[in-house]
């Protein structure tokens, strides 16, 4: 990691050693050396500030108010109606977390089950297929292309396909009847909905994990396998002692992203079931429904649920990264 740029900076700081080392000087030196780096980051930072940071601050502010679509300022024709919501402190949070008629905790439990089940199963499937496809076999390029296909088709298209397949008289249930089984109502029975949601999400998600794992597998030096084989390790022992440790950097990244993406997976749930089926809604779609699925639209509570989701993920990520660091992996 020594670059020309860094080399230059080392020389410059050597130069500037005589001219004071106050904080202003440090910033100035830093500016002189790195203005290029900053300039190259400016577009990203600008986009993130306007579309992420500023809305986030506004969103956090909304959680302390009683904003609904009735009292938020809007423009109707030429009439401008100003904001008229008021500050309510932590009321939204206490009501959502401890109130009697809220649905936060059931949704929370299901979201956790959903995330763990999806990530674990998708990871296992992706890893298994990556190992299979990494072997020297005929037509592996062809298999690989077909296996990545679910990633390439837009979610709303594939989910529409799944709706036809899983419909009460769709092909899955027709096959089950042919086998003498009575298929459940995949899109409306509460338990079957959950099974269907997890299955469809695995279907949508495994190509990404498979391809990442394939890349990880190819970066493991073959000498390690050779050595293990010389030592008389069985294929399973080689998998556990060479492959899995070699994949740890990729796995930790993929699992972290997988958890974040699955926790926030909006499309699968929303498009497969719409906003109506209550028990299958995860926190994100539940928050969306508080906002768009009812009248008046409950801005404040929707934002509150959103902020709670975000906090959960931030806590998870920092714990996970700390855990990774303690296990001495430099991957993240």
């Amino acid at each position: 990691m020594t670059t020309v740029v860094e080399g230059k900076s080392a020389r410059q700081s050597h130069h500037g050693r005589g001219s004071g080392r106050g904080p202003m000087q440090l910033i100035k030196n830093s500016y002189n050396q790195y203005w290029y780096a900053w300039a190259m980051c400016v577009p990203v930072v600008l986009v993130l500030l306007t579309v992420v940071a500023y809305p986030l601050i506004q969103g956090i502010y909304l959680t302390f108010t009683d904003a609904t679509s009735l009292n938020v300022g809007r423009t109707i024709g030429v009439n401008e109606i100003p904001d008229s919501y008021s500050w309510v402190g932590l009321k939204n949070y206490t009501e959502i977390l401890t109130g009697s008629n809220n649905q936060f905790w059931p949704h929370f439990v299901w979201t956790v089950i959903w995330t763990v089940a999806c990530v674990a199963l998708t990871y296992a499937l992706g890893l298994g297929l990556a190992v299979a496809i990494n072997r020297q076999i005929k037509a592996r390029g062809f298999y690989r292309m077909l296996l990545i296909l679910p990633w390439a088709v837009p979610t709303f298209v594939t989910i529409f396909a799944w709706r036809l397949i899983l419909a009460d008289d769709g092909v899955v249930n027709q096959i089950l009847i042919g086998l003498g089984l009575d298929g459940p109502s995949w899109l409306s029975d509460p338990f079957a909905q959950k099974v269907a949601a997890i299955a469809v999400n695995i279907w949508c998600g495994f190509p990404f994990i498979m391809i990442s794992m394939l890349g990880g597998l190819q970066s493991i030096p073959r000498e390690l396998y050779e050595a293990a084989e010389m030592d008389g390790a069985t294929p399973w022992q080689r998998f556990v002692n060479v492959t899995l440790p070699g994949l740890r950097p990729v796995s930790s990244t993929v699992i972290l992203l997988g958890v974040i993406w699955t926790f926030n997976q909006f499309n699968v749930i929303f498009l497969l079931f719409g906003g109506n089926s209550d028990s299958v809604q995860i926190l994100v779609t539940y928050a969306y429904r508080l906002f768009f699925g009812q009248q008046p639209q409950d801005y404040a509570r929707s934002a509150t649920v959103g902020i709670l989701c975000l906090s959960l993920l931030v806590v998870f990520t920092s714990v996970y990264r700390r855990w990774l660091k303690r296990n001495d992996q430099g991957a993240l």
Partner: protein, 297 residues
Amino acid sequence: MTSTTTPPAGGAQALNDPRRLLSRRSRKSSVSLHAVLAASAFMAVFPVLWIFYISLGPDKNDYQHPSRILGNATLDNYTHVLKNTGFGTWMLNSIIVAAGTMLIGVLIAASAAYAVSRMKFLGRGSLMYTFLLTQMFPVAVLMVPLYKIMGSLGLLDTYGGLVIIYCSTAVPYCAWLLKGYFDTIPVEIDEAGRIDGLSPFGTFWRLILPLARPGLAVAAFYTFITAWGEVAFASKFMLTEEKYTLAVGLQSYISQFNSQWNYLAATSVLIAIPAGAVFYIVQRHLVAGLTAGGTKG
């Protein structure tokens, strides 16, 4: 096909050396490996094939009686969709938004990723962490404030508004991925470029970007797919029918045509084609592109 993978760290190409004799498989395990892969590949492709099959059926309820389609397959649904609906407009809108997101997103992600990869400037670590953090933002927190911001900036119902929003989700991941990829490109190349009198940006533009093609291909694919398939923002921020993207158009269809599944299926197939084309172009770069990002991210 097997030679299409070129991992930066090497490995797959070593398959032809004599060592493989050590782990030669028995016929039985080879057959079962093929069986597993063929079954998985079938499962992966089935929904796509199925919706294509349904799209050939003349009746809107043919998905309930798939065997009826066999004798009556027709392309009428496609001609209907192309002639009598807003499909053309929506397709054009989607292409503008997805291509815009892809171009702008990859460009700004790449420049930030390069800066993070090559220069140890102040705030470099926190920038990377911020990228990770933005992946965690649920739609619901940003939706309301964004709606207001876009409204006050006059960006509701515009292509630019959607492009900016999509960039905010796609760019951080791409920057992460590309940073990992740039890390695998030897810094001696930068040094040579600087000695030849190129500016840091010149080095990036003329030397590093061409070398980073696999990484860029994955980033481009990811941004394109993100924009092409996004529903939540598009359906709330594009207000007039002339500005609908395909995702929104398809939704409006469901009510408009009283669940005419055959038309919906045909439309879905048409929507999948451009995404499939982009996928086909980049698929041989996918492993190499993701590897670097995955292992070094």
